[in-house]
Structures are given as structure tokens and as C-alpha cells.
Symmetry: D2
Subunit: 116 residues, 4 copies
């Protein structure tokens, strides 16, 4: 195996379980504080948070979100992670998720240019 720590472009959605409250905003805010400390590039959206960096660091940051949400009182935590790696070209560090959005937006901008 060539790479010992692949660069990972990821997204995760963490759910505290067994809290007795349907709101999760306080727990998600706690995760944002953890991510801030991680030094990784991240960006929250309506159903999760984009996150990227070396695989082991991305994984550790999400682990630490679990630990922090447990510490805030959630007995159980479940997360859905989407994670991608590529070896055909270098991912611009910290710009992997952003770059994907820009590529799609360029294509859609061509549509509009062609129409007008």
C-alpha cells in the first residue's frame, strides 16, 4: 500500500442518542468547537459538516466530537461519515470540498451563458 495516511475529503453528520431532547444544536455547537481546535478545514451545512485533512486527523477529530458529546451527557452517539480519497491528482490541501463545488458551479454557469 503506497500511502500511509491518505488525504481525506469528508463530511459527517453526528446524532446524539438517548438525550431526551429532540434538539441537537447544543451538541453540534460543541462539535464545531472541537473542530476549531483540530486545525482542520471544516464547514457546517444544513445536514452535516464538511471536513478534510490527513485521514487519521479527520478520523480523530470526529472521534473527539463523539467524546465531547458523551461528556455533555449523551449516552450514545451515532455518526454518518462520507469520506473520499483519490490518487489520480493531488487534492489542494484544505480546498478539496470547495474545489468540487466550484467545478459544478462552473458547468452550471456555462449553461446560463449559453442560454443568454
Amino acid at each position: 500500500m503506497p500511502a500511509s495516511d491518505l488525504y481525506a475529503v469528508a463530511d459527517f453528520c453526528l446524532i446524539p442518542m438517548g438525550t431526551g431532547e429532540s434538539s441537537v444544536a447544543e451538541h453540534i455547537a460543541e462539535c464545531q468547537r472541537i473542530l476549531e481546535k483540530s486545525g482542520l478545514t471544516f464547514k457546517m451545512h444544513g445536514y452535516g459538516t464538511n471536513l478534510e485533512g490527513p485521514w487519521s486527523e479527520v478520523s480523530k477529530a470526529i472521534h473527539d466530537c463523539h467524546a465531547a458529546v458523551h461528556a455533555k451527557g449523551a449516552p450514545r452517539v451515532a455518526t454518518d461519515i462520507r469520506i473520499g480519497t483519490r490518487v489520480d491528482r493531488d487534492t489542494p490541501v484544505g480546498d478539496g470540498n470547495n474545489h468540487k463545488v466550484k467545478r459544478v458551479e462552473e458547468i452550471l454557469a456555462r449553461d446560463r451563458a449559453a442560454v443568454s
Copy 2:
């Protein structure tokens, strides 16, 4: 069962398979065009697209993305969907995903206010 078509706040990440190209931007752009026609509220991010509306319409929109990506040449398509419903309060139509982000941002803004 009370609701015949629950309001769904969702997010999906679609992957064309067997295309022989590692880039998926053209396929994702096609999905954005399909979503535009659906009339639903949606917003692309770095690892998927937020989408919300009546469950059956959200599901049909994602189905139609699959059909469109097949029509563009992908023999196989795999999607990860996160989908949530709630009955404790009404979700503001078209603002479910957005509302969740705002709630977390308000909490984080309080942090900063407390520090300064």
C-alpha cells in the same frame, strides 16, 4: 400512522459508477438541473446537496437524478441519503436545513460574545 407524507429534511450524495472517469462534476451538474425543475429547496455543498420537501417529492427528485445520470451514460449509480422527520413541531417549509445551521450559529455567537 398519522402522516401520509411527512415533511423531510434531507441531504444526498450521488456517485456515478462504472463511468471510467474519476470526475463526477458533469453528473452532479445534471442533478442540480433536475433539482431546479423539482421546485424543492436545495443547496449544494462540498460533499452532497441539502434538499427538503414532502418525503415523496424529495424521494422522486433523487430518483430522477439517478435516471438522468444513467441517461448521461453511467451504468450504475449509488447514493447516500440522510433524511429526517419530526412531529414535535412544524418545520418551516423550505427552511428546515437552514434553520438548523442558524440555531448552531446562534450558540457559537454567544460563545464569542461571552469571551469578548
Copy 3:
């Protein structure tokens, strides 16, 4: 778009939120009862349930699981769905998920035959 209701091979993991209990077994059992009534092919595993059939029926079955889990008292429900379609060959109805496992097991069986 060629297909009005693509055949879908899927898997889903449903999480009741805001219940105040960390155990979800009663809720998952309720989902199994709903799936039984759906007439679709399904099989529970340790972190979700395989499910397949026409896209609209798969979607409706998962929707009805949400409605049933709400009816049992969960104010909020979040589900992760993996769903795949293909147009390069027909999926044997009710055997799509099973077929994928068999193909991998055949390959691994060849490993063992080659070793012995």
C-alpha cells in the same frame, strides 16, 4: 429519462431521536413489522437493514417506518439510506443485495482454493 420507477437495491439505518432512552431495539423491531407488511425483500444486519424493490416502494416503506416510530413516541427520526440503481443489466428481483454478497464470496472462495 427512461425509467419511471427504477429498481432500487438499498440499505437503511433509522435512529429515533429525543426518546430519552439509549436503546433503540423496540423501534427497530417496529420497523421490521412495517417492512414485513410492505411485501419487499429485506434483511436486518448489525447496523441497518437491506431492502430492495421498485424505488417508490422502497422509499414508501422507509417513510412508513418513520411514521411508525413517531407513533411510538419518537419526536424526531433520522435515517441514513444507501440506495443503488443500475441499467447495464437486470437485477434479479429480490436478489440484488444477496447477489452482491455471493459474487464477493465466490472470489474469496477462489483464494482459498488456490492456497490449498
Copy 4:
């Protein structure tokens, strides 16, 4: 944060991208070989593989699957991971996913006993 490496009960579905083949069985078989070497408890199903152990080891095993699938020629790999932790009780090591299935099956068996 109390735990430096939470015990994780997980499931993942890996998709090779840009291979030009719609079949993924050879790649999934390669992942099964990697998991075999990891020493972790795992079990393939129709739309993914159950996997459990210390968080860092689960993460490393999935990372190594990515590296192996890249080494077999896939320029890009995307994985969906579901991962759960709990601190309300100890998870029986290697039996976390299995235990969840057994609990649901016990409840469903009571249904059948009540009917007959």
C-alpha cells in the same frame, strides 16, 4: 474528554470510482482480505460490511481498504461509514453489532409467541 479511543461499532460501504467497470466485487473482495488481516470483527452484508473495535483501529482498517483499492487501480474511492459509540454500558468486545440484531430478534420472537 474521558476516552482516548472509544470502542466503535461501525458499518461501511466502499465504492471504487473511475474504474470503467460497473462491477465492484473484486474490489470488495480485496477489502475483505484487508479486514481479515486487521484482526477486527467484521461481517459483509448486501450493502456494506459490519466492523467493530477501538475507533482508531476501525478507522485504520477502512483507510487501508482505500489504499488497497487504489493499489488495484481505482483512481478515486468514496466510502459511507456509520459509526456509533456509547458510554452507558460496555459493549461486549466483538459482539456489538451482533448484540443489536439479537435484541431486535428477541422482541420479534415475543410477537410470534404472543400470536400462537
